[in-house]
Symmetry: C2
Subunit: 315 residues, 2 copies
C-alpha cells in the first residue's frame, strides 16, 4: 500500500502569503497515526480499488482531521500538540483561525479530485461527516456546563466527535472502489463501532492504564471531573450513599491523589470497569461481525487485526 506519510509530506505549503500556509504545513508535519486516510485506503483495497482514485478523499479526510485539531486547540487554549507548541502559541490566535479556515478549504480542494461520477455523493457524505464533528464538539462544550448529561448523551457525543469520521473514511473509500450499498453500510458500522470502542477504552486507560505504558498521568479525567463513560456509568449505577460520596469528591479540586484513589475505589465497588469493558467488547464484536459480510482478503484481515489491537492496547 502507498506510504500515506510520504504523500502528505509531498504536499507543498511553501506558497504566499506565508502567514496563511506555513501553519498548515506545520500542523500536517507534526505526525499522528494517519488512521483516517489509512482506513479509506484499506476499504478501497478490500474491493480492489485504484489507489490514485481514493487518494484525494483519503488526503481530504486527514487534512480535515488536522484542521479540527488546529481550531480545537485555539478553543481549548491547548499549549502543546504532539510535543510541539500549538499554532496559536507559535503564531497567534488570528493566524490559527485564518489558517484553519484555509485548511478546511484545502480539504475540499483535495476532495474535488475524487472521480467526477463519485464526487456528488462523496461531497454530501463529507459534509455530513464534517457537520457531525462540529456538532460533537459543540455537545462536548455544552456537557462541561451541564449537570444533566446522561450516558446516552455521552455516547451520541463521542459518536459524532470521533466515530463518524472513521465510519465515513471507510464508507467513502469503499464507495469509490465500487462497494455496493450493503457493503458501504457494513464498513460504516464497522468504523462507527471501533470508534466507540476506542473512546471507551480511552476512558478506561485514563483510570486503569499502566503508568509505564500509558504515556500520560493516570487519573487526569478524575481530577478534572470529566464526564467520561466511567463517571456517567458510576452516577447511573450508584445508590444514594455512593452517589453522595461521589458528588463530595467531585466538589473537591485539590487533593488530587486522594481523589483519584477514592473515585477509583468507588468505580471498583460499583463494577464500573467491568461494565465499561463489557460495552467496549460489545462494540468491538459488533464491528468484527460487520466484516463477515465483506470480501475476505488481506484488507479484511487488517481491519480484523485493527479492531483486536484496539481492545488490547495499553496506550
Amino acid at each position: 500500500m502507498i506510504d500515506i506519510n510520504q504523500v502528505i509530506e509531498s504536499l507543498d505549503w511553501s506558497k504566499e502569503p506565508k502567514g496563511l500556509y506555513e501553519p498548515i504545513g506545520y500542523t500536517l508535519a507534526s505526525g499522528g497515526k494517519r488512521i483516517r486516510p489509512t482506513l479509506a485506503l484499506i476499504a478501497a483495497e478490500l474491493f480492489g480499488g485504484k489507489e490514485n482514485e481514493v487518494l484525494p478523499a483519503a488526503l481530504a479526510l486527514e487534512v480535515f482531521h488536522n484542521f479540527t485539531l488546529l481550531h480545537d486547540d485555539v478553543m481549548d487554549r491547548a499549549q502543546v500538540r504532539r510535543g510541539r507548541p500549538t499554532v496559536h502559541v507559535k503564531w497567534d490566535d488570528n493566524t490559527a483561525i485564518l489558517s484553519g479556515d484555509q485548511m478546511l478549504i484545502e480539504a475540499y480542494r483535495l476532495l474535488s479530485g475524487v472521480p467526477a461520477d463519485k464526487l456528488p455523493q462523496v461531497l454530501r457524505w463529507f459534509n455530513d461527516m464534517a457537520t457531525g464533528i462540529c456538532e460533537g464538539q459543540q455537545y462536548d462544550v455544552d456537557f462541561e456546563h451541564s449537570a444533566q448529561v446522561q450516558l446516552a448523551d455521552y455516547m451520541k457525543m463521542i459518536e459524532l466527535k470521533t466515530s463518524v469520521l472513521l465510519a465515513y473514511a471507510l464508507k467513502i473509500g469503499g464507495y469509490i472502489a465500487g462497494a455496493n450499498a450493503a457493503q458501504q453500510e457494513a464498513l460504516y458500522q464497522y468504523g462507527l463501532h471501533i470508534g466507540l470502542a476506542f473512546q471507551i477504552q480511552d476512558d478506561i486507560l485514563d483510570v486503569y492504564g499502566d503508568p509505564k505504558t500509558f504515556g500520560k498521568a493516570i487519573g487526569g479525567d478524575i481530577c478534572c471531573n470529566k464526564k467520561t463513560f466511567l463517571l456517567l456509568t458510576a452516577l447511573s449505577k450508584a445508590d444514594a450513599a455512593s452517589k453522595a460520596e461521589l458528588n463530595r469528591w467531585l466538589a473537591i479540586s485539590d487533593r488530587d491523589q486522594e481523589k483519584i484513589a477514592a473515585v477509583t475505589a468507588l468505580y471498583d465497588r460499583l463494577g464500573v470497569r467491568a461494565e465499561a469493558e463489557s460495552v467496549m467488547e460489545e462494540h468491538t464484536a459488533f464491528a468484527l461481525k460487520q466484516l463477515e459480510t465483506l470480501p475476505q482478503n488481506e484488507a479484511t484481515e487488517r481491519l480484523r487485526q485493527l479492531a483486536e489491537k484496539l481492545v488490547n492496547r495499553k496506550s
Copy 2:
C-alpha cells in the same frame, strides 16, 4: 426573479445543538445587500438558466460570504455588524469560531446541490474563490505591519479580498446556465473589475464623500493610516518635501480633524483624487466592455446599470 432574501430566510437553523446553529441564523438574518447571490442569478438569467439549478450555488456564495464576516469580526475584534452585536460579542469567541466553521461547511452543503454534471467544475472554482478570500485577508493583515506596500500589492489584495467572489459568482451562475468559455471569462472579468472599481470608490468616499449621505464619519481611513488607494498613490506621486509632510502626519495619532484636513489638502495638491477617479472609471469601462460580448437582454441591462450605479454612488 426569485426573492433571494425570502429564500435565505426560509433556511432552517433551529437545529440542535443550538450553540452551533443559532449564531448561523443570527448572522444570515442580519441582512446585507445579497449582491453575490443576485449576481449569480442575473448571470444565469442572461443565458435563460433555470433558477432552481443556480440557486444552490447562489446560496452557497452568500453563506460563504457571511462566514467570512463572522470570522473576520473575531479577528478584528469588531463589536458591531449591520447595527447588531457581532457573534463573538453576543456569544463568545469559541462559539464564533465553531459556528463559523460550521457555516463554511454549510456553504459546501448548499453547493452540493449544484447539478451533478456541473458540480466538479463549480466545486473547483468555489475552492479557488474561497482560497482567494483567505489569501486576501492574510495580505490585508500583513500590510498593516509592512512599510513596503506598493499600489500594485494593494490592487492584488483587494482583487483577492473583494473582487474574486463577485467574479466567481457571475462565472458560476453563467456556467450553470450554459455560458460558453468566452462568456464565462467575460462575466468573470466584469465581476473582477466592478469589484476593483467598487473598492476604489470606497476609498474615495471615505475622504471625499458627503457626510450627509455617506453614512459614517469622513476621514476614518486617514485617521488610522489605512493603506488605501489614495494613500499609496500619494506616497508614490509625492516629491521629497510632500512625502516628508505626509510621513509627519502619519506619525501623528491625535489631532484627528487637523490630520484629516492636512492629508486631504496634500491629496488635492498631488492630484490623488483625480487619479483614483480615473482608475476607477477605467475599471468600470473595462467591465462594461465585457458586457458587449454577452447576449443582450434584460439581464445584461441590469449588469450595465449596476456598474453605472457603482461609479455614481454616494454611500
